[in-house]
Subunit: 138 residues, 2 copies
DNA sequence: TCCTACAATGGACATTGTCTAAGTCAAGCA
DNA sequence: TGCTTGACTTAGACAATGTCCATTGTAGGA
């Protein structure tokens, strides 16, 4: 079973069927589902799960730092379970496919003090956009 | 008057009071309004302008490349008229304030071929997050 | 000035997300 | 094992943002 469930239990998270299902749906590499997609897949495993529970659970996973919210799509938030390895995203402008990528260099270092306007900068989010091989072939 | 209106007219854009008002609202540096804010300000100048028109006009300005859509906020799209000077964004995690910034270096070059998965990468969007001086003082 | 294609209107609808009141249940404990 | 309790879940109303469409209005050319 997934490490995620272990970690959550270790943190005193009360385990319920609903939470287990949501955690199971969010498992694997290059998984970037919208809340609605998570709900759809959760319903397939546990038909009576409600939308509110999915939203609540996703929100908790995010505040626990186990899942990342990413805003590559402009419509809906997406949830990325790959929270323990810093990475950025590569998005196909046509079909919306998303890949995790690991650029070299540190973009934080590229922002000189004069461009910080007194902000305390703690984080950076990079989204590359392009066309994926499938769409390029079509 | 603004260059924007000149450019649009030069492209054969049909000029109407509504479009003029939207273009006027979107003028200046560090302007990052939501569609709703644009509508509110447009209504102040032209009370009978409708929401649909604001959305349509914003959409057209974006496809003409005169305005950028930015997704710094997770709720609503924001519109950035500073489309002719490439730049990125610095966002306050607390109050949501947004500044345009110009990092050194080219993040596109930081993505090695092995991390491109066959994509043709054409664009990169960088969002720095931190705390602004106002919020830090509070 | 008149025409006509294009733009604007307003209101219904769609999508995404949040909230609440009431019912349910996991986990600790005797 | 069987309570107890507080956290969890539910359904559905509501809110915010965005889209669509049929109708009405109008900018700009003939």
């Amino acid at each position: 079973m997934s490490d995620l469930l272990e970690r959550l239990r270790g943190r005193g998270w009360r385990m319920t069927a609903q939470r287990r299902v949501v955690a199971e749906v969010l498992d694997g590499e290059h998984v970037h589902l919208t809340a609605d997609e998570v709900h759809a897949r959760a319903v397939a495993k546990l038909p009576e799960i409600s939308r509110a529970t999915v939203y609540n659970t996703l929100g908790e996973l995010v505040s626990l730092g186990e899942v990342l919210e990413v805003a590559t799509d402009k419509r809906a938030k997406r949830y990325d379970p790959n929270a323990h390895r810093p990475h950025h995203h590569l998005v196909c402008a046509q079909c919306g496919a998303i890949r995790d990528v690991h650029p070299t260099g540190n973009p934080l270092a590229d922002l000189p003090d004069t461009e910080r306007f007194g902000f305390t900068v703690s984080d950076v989010e990079v989204t590359y956009r392009g066309v994926c091989p499938n769409c390029a072939a079509a």
